[in-house]
């Protein structure tokens, strides 16, 4: 099949953005529906791709490659393996859900919003598909701009501070990453007699790395640069403080995408690029990174307990949950890595859902302060039930997706060192503490004075809102009961990852 399906998926939202741009802004409904239609189209295509994907074999499929800047061997090269296809499907899924979830809340400048969102989707898909380091970098940066606008224009009261922090923080990391990428390509060029051909090609670079041709000192520096960029995006302790601000100020859909996909970009970068390209450095720094991950897991959970704001609480819980991902990557165990990737997906689904649910409340009350809530289980029973479900999923209840991911990370790291598992297992209690306490204060008890003051505006979830949450809940259950759906896809990438990472330790 010679259909460039990957490019089609990538650029479908772009076409959508252009289409939206062409529509006059006095028809907001038409704009919304057009945007939704294109995001749904991308989603359907990604599902088709998933169906067409051949399970089992290692390596990349559906590879497309075209010369772009031949002077430096920069190519437009995309392809998928089990990891990227999952991420792409996650992205397309959350994208249409986010767009749909924005129908109500976004009333101002709808056109710009939808364009931003569709461009954002292009960038995110591109990041997961790119097999050329330069292309990857470009998509990586493209993601930044629409998110900057989404938070900055359609965000809360402190949105400018938050969005600037987000952008500057990310830029510091990504620009250093650019230096590292260029240096890596240059090292390859030097190693190939000054020819730039293939210098940015991930697969060739990885072969180059596998043959041990990057010097140790070089690896250390390049790895640190990439790691910093990815760690900020994940975000790892202590680079996480942009996240609570960004989440708090972002509009609901922005938070969903931020938590659901953007944080995954960092983890994806670590798995796809940072470790396989610089295996020796990855091993050198694995210890400190594991310690940081453990700190992030526990620290994020502890800080979550005392958060006064719903979104801020979920943001800090993301720090904790994403700690499992980095932990799972750097213990270099197939089990833990699969757990980490599963955790990436399930965190996307669960936290995305939680933000949507908070958005539902915010729509009605224009407030997210936990202390002002209370008794919502009585007034909005359906909402409270769904919220409870997602909270339990977030707390890692067995049978739901979050449990499988975290448990696999636990088991994998326990196999490496029981100490890691012992140090992090407390999060089982901490997570339950902050989540249930939050749930109790929001949903249980009697109706707060603040809510009473709002009178009868507290209608329960609407149909649209339910539609946005339904697929997430469904996937959470399905992945909890049948994680093999994902794990089968991940076997080959996990092997490839370990093979690449194992070079420096001699297999």
């Amino acid at each position: 099949m010679n259909l460039p399906i990957l490019s089609l998926i990538t650029f479908t939202p772009l076409v959508g953005a252009l289409a939206v741009a062409a529509l006059p802004s006095r028809y907001p409904h038409l704009i919304r529906r057009t945007a939704l239609a294109f995001s749904l189209l991308a989603w359907v295509m990604s599902l088709v791709l998933l169906a067409a994907y051949a399970f089992g074999p290692t390596g990349f499929q559906f590879v497309e490659a075209h010369n772009w800047i031949p002077t430096f061997g920069i190519r437009y090269k995309v392809g998928i393996d089990g990891l990227s296809i999952l991420m792409v499907v996650l992205t397309t899924t959350l994208s249409w859900i986010s767009i749909l979830a924005s129908f109500g809340p976004i009333k101002d400048r709808v056109k710009g919003y939808m364009i931003s969102f569709l461009v954002l989707e292009v960038g995110m898909i591109g990041v997961f598909l790119a097999l050329d380091l330069f292309l990857f970098y470009i998509y990586w940066e493209i993601v930044l701009v629409p998110m900057y606008l989404i938070i900055g224009i359609w965000g809360g009261s402190n949105r400018i501070y938050a969005t600037m922090k987000f952008v500057l923080y990310t830029l510091v990391g990504s620009l250093l990453m650019l230096v590292a990428i260029l240096a890596t390509a240059f090292a390859y060029q030097v190693g190939h007699g000054g020819s730039w051909v293939g210098a940015f090609d991930f697969q060739l670079l990885q072969q180059f790395a596998a043959s041990g041709q990057f010097g140790d000192a070089f690896q250390n520096l390049a790895f640190l640069a990439l790691f910093l960029a990815f760690a900020i995006k994940v975000p790892m302790f202590p680079f996480h403080t942009w996240l609570p601000d960004a989440h708090t100020e972002a509009p609901t859909a922005g938070s969903v995408i931020l938590a659901g996909v953007l944080l995954k970009l960092g983890a994806y970068g670590l798995i796809r690029f940072a470790v396989p390209l610089y295996p020796h450095a990855a091993h050198t720094f694995a210890g400190p990174i594991i310690v940081l991950s453990v700190i992030a897991i526990v620290y994020g959970a502890i800080v979550s307990i005392v958060q006064p704001d719903l979104k801020r609480l979920i943001a800090y819980s993301s720090v904790s949950h994403m700690g499992f991902v980095t932990l799972g990557i750097f213990v270099f165990s197939a089990t833990a890595l699969q757990g980490a990737i599963l955790q990436m997906i399930s965190h996307g689904l669960i936290t995305g859902g939680l933000f949507l649910l908070v958005g539902v409340i915010y729509e009605r009350t224009h407030d997210r302060t936990i202390a002002k809530m209370g008794g919502l289980a009585a007034t909005m029973p359906v909402w409270a039930t769904v919220f409870g479900f997602f909270i339990l999923a977030s707390a890692g209840l067995p049978g739901l997706s979050g449990f499988v991911g975290e448990f696999l990370v636990f088991v994998g790291s326990f196999g490496i060192s029981p100490l890691i598992a012992v140090a992090t297992i407390i999060v089982m209690v901490l997570a339950a503490t902050y989540l249930l306490w939050m749930f109790q204060r929001v949903a249980f008890g009697t109706m707060s004075d603040f809510l009473k003051g709002l009178g009868g505006h507290l209608t329960d979830m609407t149909g649209t809102e339910a539609v946005t949450l339904l697929p997430l809940g469904f996937l959470i259950v399905v992945l909890g009961l049948f994680p093999s759906l994902v794990l089968d896809l991940l076997r080959a990438p996990a092997q490839a990852f370990l093979a690449a990472a194992g070079v420096a330790v001699g297999g």
Binding site: I69, I160, M164, L168, L176, V179
Partner: protein
């Protein structure tokens, strides 16, 4: 002097004639705008054609004082584009202020003629004279709004410091000439090569180098010789600022290419550390101070200082042994021309009505008041920030790549440059914040600019995009131009 010499410098000759023609047209039809603009732009078009005819050829004229090579063609085209864009942006700005377009266009074209001569000169004396032809009209353009205290204040500061630095440069040139015994660039290089080969360089030569470096650094607005930039940029009529931010800057780098790369090439090991220090200081100070600015013109002035720093990294990369550093400089110059002129053009559009300040508050709500203008400004600012896939990103990437290839301290410089670029995002995006994330204040409604102006804006916008999406187009030209007669 013979006809072939005239042929070789034909673009310059034509440019002078165009300037004269503009003045003549103004005499024939005094105060009429359109004939002047038609003459000027049409003339520049002819100049461009003359340059393009020369593309790919090489040769020298006037006994080696002027050389035609790819570098000359590349830079000449750039200068002509700068001149044309400046005229497009200026017409709408000058008219409501009662300032004459004819004198403006003539002086501007004289300046650009100087810049074109700088690009092609391979003789120290010609280089100096051409440089003066480039900058002297610049002083006058800065003070072109001669009834405006700010404009004249900027002009006199620019003039005094510019003359001061010219004297310093000249002093240095005199010593280098005295020691090497020739004004021809290749002769100087040959003489210096023997000096280097015999070991230590004389203190007198070192001092001459210091004076020359200072003079050129001043023209580039490198720290600590940058002081004139913010005041001159802020005070000048905004289209002039647009011109000043790219024309003399690219010209200064043309001097650097001809003088430092060409004539002083054998001494590059000696001037490399100086350039590294200058680059580091320049980008850091430029960015740090730009962060604190509330006036967009002044902010862009400091930002242009920072960009000088980035371009200097390319020069340092060359001195560090990486020829592609020169391509990086040229690419950067071209990319910077479009995005920065575009940014200033938007400021110009806002200030078209007299009395509108360039304070950042003027931009509040621009994205809503005038979506196209806002979007373009955002495009230029993102490009200046270095966000892919826009021109500014590739410019930075080229420079960084060259620095990495050179290795050593230049890697550190590359990292510093990137940290600086991240800090720079703060002030560029701050403008975006005002445009899109704040509500408009006051009555600062933009008056929609004329067709000519819009064409200019479109050219800069499309340039910024095209350079970003298809950088190979410009990169190939820059690569071709990085080996030149010198």
């Amino acid at each position: 002097m013979n006809w072939s010499d005239i042929g070789t410098i034909s673009p310059v000759v034509i440019a002078v004639l165009v300037a004269a023609a503009v003045l003549v047209v103004d005499m024939v039809a005094p105060g009429r705008r359109d004939p002047v603009i038609v003459t000027a732009l049409g003339g520049l078009g002819i100049v461009a054609v003359a340059i393009l005819i020369q593309a790919g050829r090489s040769g020298s004229a006037f006994g080696g004082a002027y050389s035609l090579d790819n570098l000359t063609v590349f830079l000449d085209m750039l200068f002509v584009a700068i001149a044309a864009l400046t005229i497009m942006f200026a017409a709408d700005y000058l008219e409501p202020r009662g300032l004459p377009i004819a004198e403006f266009a003539a002086v501007l074209i004289f300046a650009v003629t100087g810049a074109m001569l700088v690009a092609g000169s391979t003789d120290l004396l010609l280089l100096f004279v051409a440089l003066e032809l480039m900058v002297l009209p610049g002083y006058m353009l800065a003070g072109f709004a001669r009834h405006d205290p700010y404009s004249t204040e900027g002009a006199i500061k620019y003039f005094l410091l510019g003359s001061f630095s010219s004297a310093i440069l000249l002093f240095g040139l005199a010593y280098v000439w005295g020691i090497t015994g020739t004004t021809r660039v290749d002769g100087v290089a040959a003489a210096l090569a023997t000096v280097v080969a015999t070991g230590k360089i004389a203190p007198g030569l070192a001092m001459g180098l210091a004076f020359m470096t200072t003079g050129v650094a001043f023209k580039m607005a490198a720290v600590p010789f940058h002081y004139w930039t913010p005041d001159a940029y802020q005070g000048s009529p905004t289209p002039v600022t647009a011109y000043l931010s790219v024309g003399p800057k690219v010209g200064a780098f043309a001097i650097a290419l001809r003088l430092f790369v060409g004539a002083l090439g054998p001494l590059k090991a000696d001037w490399l550390p100086v350039v590294i220090v200058l680059a580091a200081l320049t980008m850091t100070l430029g960015n740090l101070v730009a962060i604190t600015q509330d006036n967009v013109k002044r902010m862009l002035a400091y930002s242009s200082i920072a960009h000088t720093g980035y371009i200097l990294v390319g020069l340092a990369a060359y001195a560090g042994g990486e020829q592609s550093g020169l391509s990086a400089i040229l690419f950067y110059g071209a990319a910077y021309t479009f995005m920065n002129m575009g940014a200033f053009a938007v400021v110009t559009a806002l200030q078209r009505r007299p009395g509108v300040s360039s304070q950042i508050a003027t931009f509040a709500g621009l994205g809503r008041r005038d979506p196209w203008l806002g979007a373009l400004m955002a495009l230029f600012l993102l490009s200046l920030t270095g966000i892919p896939p826009l021109a500014g990103f590739w410019a930075k990437a080229y420079v960084i790549l060259a620095a990495i290839q050179a290795g050593g301290w230049l890697t550190v410089l590359a990292v510093l440059a990137m940290i600086n670029a991240a800090a720079a995002a703060f002030y560029y995006l701050r403008v975006v914040v005002y445009m899109y994330m704040r509500e408009p204040t006051g009555d600062a409604a933009p008056s929609s600019p004329g067709a000519l102006f819009r064409t200019g804006l479109a050219i800069t916008g499309v340039g910024t995009l095209i350079f970003g999406l298809f950088p190979a187009l410009v990169a190939a030209a820059a690569d071709a131009a990085n080996v030149f007669h010198g």
